[in-house]
């Protein structure tokens, strides 16, 4: 087998960069999909909560209050 030519090394160097960007795009794409799914679940939960609240209000339990919401804690990184 002949040793790789200069052309092969140049192609390998550019391929490394291309593959790295491709992997990065795939990771971000997967993350966006996860965030989209989580957002959908939260929207569904919020709707469910709203439906329950309006049902309980319609049912005559006007004195009942919604549970207090906990204070959020922001997390980074």
């Amino acid at each position: 087998m002949s040793p790789p030519s200069e052309w092969h090394y140049v192609a390998a160097a550019y391929l490394v960069v291309f593959v790295a960007v491709l992997i990065w795009v795939a990771i971000i794409g997967a993350k966006l999909q996860r965030l989209q799914r989580q957002l959908g679940e939260l929207v569904e939960q919020a709707r469910e909560r709203e439906r329950n609240m309006s049902r309980s209000l319609d049912g005559g339990s006007k004195g009942a209050e919604a549970p207090a919401l906990p204070a959020p804690e922001r997390e980074h990184g």
Partner: protein
């Protein structure tokens, strides 16, 4: 975000076209010199990422800017990605030009590796601490220490007495032809635009993640 992404795509396409169809083949190094047009801009972009991360770290300590902590983290994360690419493309170029994958006798290579490993350790520090002000402060101090290594790494090749790593930018200006320099400048702009695009996308993703976490806590789930 859309503008930086579009700019990155256009500039990358233009730089690849210039590298393979416009820039002349180097008389000394031959075809393998074309790795230079990606290798050096990637290395300079890594320095820019670490510099940007340090600037944001300074804002964390100086202005008590909470948003800057995440921005500093994302910039350093991008810097490590570009740093890894610098080492990989440099190693391939070294093999093509010098016949070895790595030369421990080269100050430039070793110092860049030290810089890269220093910033890799940033993540170990960050993820070993609980989120909060203390973590932001410690991460910021670490990022500022790291930035001191950048000028040392950049000047190492000029401080070295014996080297095989080529010196392109000297006190007499760039040691290349006009077309080579133009191609290099477009490649550098492409890499900086790529960094801007990746930085904005990753930052937006992290902020979205944080907002969703907050929303989840508000909904009590």
């Amino acid at each position: 975000m859309a503008v930086s992404s579009a700019l990155a795509v256009v500039l990358l396409a233009a730089s690849i076209a210039l590298i393979f169809f416009y820039a002349p083949t180097d008389a000394d190094q031959g075809f393998s010199q074309r790795i230079f047009y990606f290798h050096v801009p990637i290395a300079l972009t890594a320095y820019a990422c670490f510099g940007w991360g340090a600037w944001k770290a300074l804002r964390v300590l100086w202005k008590r800017d909470d948003r800057a902590d995440l921005e500093s983290y994302v910039a350093i994360h991008q810097g490590v990605v570009f740093g890894a690419l610098t080492l990989l493309t440099g190693s391939i170029w070294a093999r093509a030009s010098w016949g070895v994958w790595w030369a421990w006798s080269e100050n430039q290579l070793v110092l860049f590796l030290v810089l890269f490993l220093f910033y890799c350790a940033y993540f170990m520090l960050r993820f070993s601490l609980e989120p909060g002000r203390a973590r932001a402060n410690m991460s910021a101090v670490y990022a500022l220490f790291g930035v001191v290594l950048i000028p040392v790494s950049f000047l190492a090749i000029r401080l070295s007495q014996k080297f095989i790593h080529p010196v392109v930018f000297t006190s007499h200006g760039p040691q290349m032809t006009g077309s080579q320099f133009f191609t290099f400048c477009v490649s550098l702009a492409a890499m900086l635009a790529l960094f801007a695009a990746l930085y904005n996308i990753e930052l937006a993703g992290k902020r979205l993640d944080s907002s969703l976490r907050e929303l989840r806590e508000l909904l009590g789930t």
